[in-house]
């Protein structure tokens, strides 16, 4: 604050003094001096106090103080750069739109802590999906020394300064009213793509929460139309992209004017940051994908064919009665997984069935399943794991398969623990801990896949494949993510002459899904690979095709369509 020259500045900002309550305290100090109650060390304390205050200075606009305050990890260059941009260029209101797995949480933590260190944020609200509340709370506490609390009841909002809660809670009464009455300095919303429609309660709630700084996190800032982007930006800076109706008219035109687009891109870049894997800095080690071809034993083959015939009959029957096809999809997928898994569903169908003929068929199938001496796939796992000789995750879709695998592994003297969605947080952590320290194999089901990070493991076996590519990517994302320093080996089991073999071919060879970056995948899932529809489609093809070749043909056509969608998406992605 050295004045260069006396200038007649038109306007100096208002000056406020703090800490002037000195004088009464000073009198007390003087009294104490009179009584001789002073100690020689006080000069040291005074010096230390001066040092401590200077250590806490936010002494210039450009340094990130937070880098001295993180604990136990080193933020990556793109994360630091993002935090810097959000603070200095975007002034604390931004959309963080990194691809999945590049550490948006870390970026948000850096930004929050920086504002706290600069004494600009005291009270912050963090809205995340319910399943991630505890994980956010722990990360902010451990990595950033931010003492934040998971919301428990309606006192939490006012009691704590930094609160992590779910959006679904926040939008309900009585919570909503209490939240609106708090003077939040910062609002962070994870999974902000849930705020794409301004007519929804989600959007309106977030729009009404008082805030000075706002960070929105989403991996997919726009899925369908530019209007979604406009809606998100409106939360941050109302009016920044102009009048919503005018915007909609201008950008909904099919023939897009390139200069318009350039201008829009420039505007958007001032409120949104998107780091992508493709951009380099964030490169992960390569994935090595291999399919393991298996041939079913004679009995297993017999069962598979019998079930397939049964499914075809059932399909025709149910289709004519307009009954649910869901059990059929399940059965078809289970028989690909293991006979053991299929038996459960067969038994259920047996109980529900009212036709004597069907019951008889199912009984035959069950008898056949029970007579199978060894399961080819399980045997292969038992053979592969010692060959790998390292930690390995085995993914399956089914509880029954999971139980059976665990049983067989342990019988072979291979240490293994289960992991599934139904476990509580504590148990999940415990299993993960056991896996990282003592146990060689983690057998996980799909539903348990989300929310665990297993970077310390480099091998993965897909015992069976989900029929939904997005879910498959979630699986891979467990081990192939930031922090993984080794090559990742992925084995896909493909049983010859079954639907499974076709699907492995489709996902691995045709779409080359395993090489694809997640960002691209995000975008196709929304469009062409509707969630349940894809599975239904495959079942339909498999059961209506006369020959396996015909089925293969249909899948191949489908693969082409997906590839087209990806390509056109990549082209239009230059907008982002």
């Amino acid at each position: 604050m050295e004045p260069q020259a006396i200038q007649s500045t038109s306007k100096t900002p208002a000056i406020q003094w703090h800490g002037l309550d000195f004088l009464s305290a000073l009198s007390a100090y003087k009294e104490n001096l009179h009584f001789g109650n002073y100690r020689s060390q006080e000069w040291t304390l005074f010096r230390l106090a001066c040092l401590a205050r200077q250590a806490k200075l936010a002494n210039n606009f450009h340094e990130l103080l937070v880098l001295h305050h993180v604990q136990g990890f080193q933020p990556l260059p793109h994360q630091v750069e993002t935090a810097r941009q959000v603070l200095q260029r975007m002034r604390g209101r931004a959309i963080l739109a990194d691809e999945v797995g590049l550490g948006k949480t870390i970026e948000a933590g850096l930004i929050l802590k920086e504002y706290m260190l600069r004494q600009m944020v005291r009270k912050a609200l963090i809205l995340v999906p319910a399943s991630l509340v505890l994980q956010w709370t722990r990360e902010l506490n451990q990595k950033f020394n931010i003492s934040c609390f998971a919301q428990r009841n309606h006192w939490s909002w006012s009691e704590y300064d930094i609160v992590v809660a779910s959006l679904d809670t926040a939008k309900r009464l009585p919570h909503k009213d209490i939240i609106m009455a708090q003077p939040w300095d910062m609002l962070i919303v994870d999974e902000a793509h849930k705020l794409k429609n301004p007519k929804t309660k989600n959007w309106q709630t977030v729009n009404q929460i008082p805030n000075k700084f706002m960070i929105l996190l989403t991996a997919t800032p726009l899925q369908n139309s530019l209007k979604e982007l406009h809606t998100l930006v409106t939360l941050l800076k109302p009016g920044y992209l102009g009048d919503p109706t005018v915007f909609a008219k201008e950008h909904a035109r099919p023939e897009k004017n390139t200069s318009d687009m350039a201008q829009l891109r420039e505007q958007v870049s001032r409120v949104m940051i998107r780091n992508r894997r493709i951009d380099g800095e964030t490169n992960l080690p390569p994935r090595k994908v291999r399919s393991v071809s298996l041939t079913l034993g004679a009995k297993e083959r017999e069962l598979y064919d019998a079930v397939h015939r049964f499914l075809k009959d059932q399909y025709r029957e149910r289709k004519s009665q307009r009954a649910s096809l869901l059990p059929l999809i399940t059965l078809q997928r289970e028989i690909c997984s293991s006979p053991y898994a299929a038996m459960m569903t067969l038994e259920k169908m047996l109980k529900r069935s009212r036709s004597g003929r069907t019951q008889a068929t199912i009984r035959d199938l069950l008898a056949l399943a029970e007579s199978i001496p060894t399961y080819t796939k399980v045997e292969r796992v038992l053979k592969l794991i010692p060959e790998i000789g390292d930690k390995c995750v085995v993914f399956t879709e089914y509880r029954a398969t999971q139980d059976f695998l665990l049983f067989m592994l342990r019988r072979q003297g291979i240490s293994a623990v289960p992991f599934r969605g139904g476990f509580g947080r504590g148990k999940k952590d415990w299993m993960k801990d056991l896996f990282s320290r003592k146990v060689q194999v983690l057998v996980a089901t799909e539903s348990g896949g989300e929310g665990i990070n297993l970077q310390f493991c480099h091998h993965m076996i897909n015992f069976d494949l989900p029929w939904n590519p997005m879910r498959l990517e979630q699986r891979i994302g467990r081990i192939h993510r930031l922090g993984q320093n080794h090559e990742v080996h992925i084995l896909n089991f493909a049983t010859e002459d079954t639907i499974e073999a076709h699907i492995v071919h489709l996902l691995q060879e045709k779409i080359r899904l395993f090489e694809m970056v997640i960002g691209n995948l995000d975008s196709i899932v929304g469009e062409s690979v509707g969630n349940g529809d894809f599975e239904k489609q495959i079942l339909e093809w498999s059961l209506t095709s006369e020959t396996p070749e015909e089925f293969g043909e249909k899948l191949s056509t489908y693969g082409d369509q997906v590839l087209c969608a990806v390509q056109s998406r990549t082209e239009s992605e230059s907008l982002e």
Partner: protein, 307 residues
């Protein structure tokens, strides 16, 4: 620019050593990057977060064993000392009371890592800042007995706040006898060995009123100086704010034009957003008085030539 203090482990170690010795905490163990301090009760209360425990102790007149803080200043030291503590506890449990049923379940004490922003260091800094707000000093040793000239020291932090904050540490000295004002006063006196002295001994005839008048003179001085200096950052912030306010008004204007039904709700929301925006982005200067001291300086060492 001067290096910001306490950014290295060595500085933090020195800081803690100085602090604990000046509050009479005993050092029980000193190793590389590692210390064990035994806390006096008052300090214990300030550095640990357990008000109910202290309430109970005070009410029931307990005399608990003094707390021992085990502070590691580097991750290596933390690992090393935790292993040692574990080993020692195990040995003690094995040798002393083999018959004791709970012996195998003893949990060894653990050391904690002192890091910037971590709980313990924050507590120590808070304690230091609460204890070091004023002082009344004069040079020690050979200069005792010589008459001194009273100076009023004010250390303050100036925060330039808009949608980002920048802070500066300033230190001013005011000579109570001739009203001379010196910049960077702290830097000039910080290395002089000082001793606490009685009020009269330092300030002579001046009382609190004089101190108060002196402080307000210093405040006027700072205000004048700030007004005279170029505030480009503030002008830029003003411009940004105006632009954003205009966008906001445009947006809500268009909404009202669209459908007039909910216009009351919209007006409230509009006003709220305007207020938030101004609170966030309007430039202002906050000045926080951190420390005040009365410093007696022997004439030859007075840094009056710096003005």
């Amino acid at each position: 620019m001067k290096q910001i203090p306490l950014r290295t482990a060595a500085e933090r170690l020195q800081f803690c050593d100085d602090y604990f010795s000046s509050v009479d905490a005993r050092i029980l163990m000193a190793k590389e990057d590692y210390r064990e301090y035994q806390l006096p009760r008052e300090i214990d209360k300030e550095l640990t977060d357990r008000p109910y425990y202290w309430l109970w102790v005070d009410q029931t007149g307990q005399k608990p064993d003094p707390t021992i803080l085990r502070l590691a200043f580097s991750p290596d030291a933390l690992e090393r000392e935790n292993q040692r503590l574990h080993r020692e506890t195990l040995e003690r449990a094995n040798s002393s009371s083999e018959s004791h049923p709970s012996a195998p379940y003893f949990r060894p004490p653990v050391a904690e890592l002192v890091s910037l922003g971590g709980f313990r260091l924050e507590r120590i800094m808070d304690s230091v800042m609460a204890r070091g707000r004023f002082i009344c000093v004069r040079p020690k040793d050979g200069l005792r007995g010589r008459p001194v000239i009273p100076w009023l020291l004010m250390n303050a932090v100036v925060s330039y706040v808009c949608d980002l904050t920048e802070q500066n540490f300033i230190s001013l000295g005011l000579c109570l006898t001739n009203d001379q004002i010196v910049n960077d006063f702290w830097q000039a006196i910080e290395r002089i060995p000082m001793g606490v002295a009685r009020w009269e001994e330092v300030v002579g005839p001046y009382d609190e009123d004089a101190v108060e008048a002196g402080l307000s003179r210093l405040r006027d001085y700072v205000g004048t100086k700030l007004r005279a200096s170029p505030q480009t950052w503030a002008k830029e912030a003003e411009l940004r704010l105006e632009e954003e306010l205009a966008q906001l008004d445009l947006y809500y204007g268009s909404l009202v034009a669209e459908d007039g039904s909910d216009s009351d709700v919209l007006t409230v929301e509009h006003q709220q957003k305007r207020a938030e925006l101004k609170q966030r982005a309007a430039p202002r200067i906050d000045i926080e008085v951190v420390q005040v001291a009365l410093v007696g300086l022997v004439e030859v060492t007075a840094p009056s030539s710096r003005q």
